[in-house]
């Protein structure tokens, strides 16, 4: 009995951590981008029309293109991540708006061949802290992005950064 308990406990301790970091399912056929939480910054934004505040992150290809100013078009292999929170007022600085509840993370994946039918980009979104995949198709993303169809379909204008290593 004691041995069985030890074995069961060992089994749970070895399996549960793996389960807790299992990647979310694909969105619109696009694989979850594990590790995006530690990607570097391309820009930030605050949308007063829907009271959200955002950081726009990028994978290595995208960040290098952004810092070099080579983003129209973005190179194949670029992945942009837009991380969205509800806005909140900072208690310690009332004129400051900061991230409140987490909303969603959305991604644009550049591959001009693979995604030629959706303007060279794959479009994906995962909702909430549980990262529930959005699967209603790329068109709902694209329709909102039409104002920037001449800007490689990307709203983000990369922020200026001092040169560095």
């Amino acid at each position: 009995m004691r041995l069985k308990k030890i074995i069961t406990t060992s089994f749970l301790l070895s399996v549960l951590p793996a389960l807790s970091i299992a990647a979310p399912s694909p969105s619109n056929g696009i694989t979850y981008q594990e590790g995006w939480q530690n990607w570097a910054t391309i820009a930030v934004s605050h949308r007063t029309d829907n009271s959200t505040i955002r950081v726009i992150l990028g994978n290595k290809v995208a960040v290098e293109a952004a810092r070099a100013g080579k983003t129209n078009p973005w190179p194949d292999g670029s992945i942009l991540g837009k991380i969205v929170w509800k806005e909140k007022q900072l208690k310690s600085w009332l004129a400051g708006t900061a991230p409140g509840d987490f909303g969603h993370a959305e991604f644009m994946v550049k591959d001009s061949t693979k995604y030629s039918k959706t303007h060279g980009w794959g479009w994906a979104r995962w909702l909430g802290l549980e990262q529930k995949p959005f699967n209603e198709g790329a068109q709902s993303c694209i329709s909102c992005h039409t104002p920037v169809k001449n800007h490689d379909w990307v709203f983000t204008e990369p922020a200026q950064f001092p040169k560095g290593k």
Copy 2:
């Protein structure tokens, strides 16, 4: 003559790249944090009182503390970077505010022993894209941070992130 030219050219080609990425001088006695441009995000903010928009980045120690909610106090070894731009209106989305001209990068370096006289933090700032060191002392930073003296002197409330690798 031709050999001299080749040697001079070789010399310049070997030295100039090194010069162009030489780290800026210290600020308030604190060494420049090379590579901060690729640090992960802790939060973002928009200050309507001085029309700036910011991303708050952290080194590995700070990001791990932030994601684990262990930031009061922040652990020794934490470095926070607040990157500040003038706000601008996004041309493609008029209700969107985004980074305009780069302003400055400021850093708080936690070492409760080394910086015991300045509330456990070293305070530094580098101005403009050329990253000119600010050297007017920590007190000018600290005086602005007094509203958060019970929050380990840090305004930033770490943003929620989905768990990940």
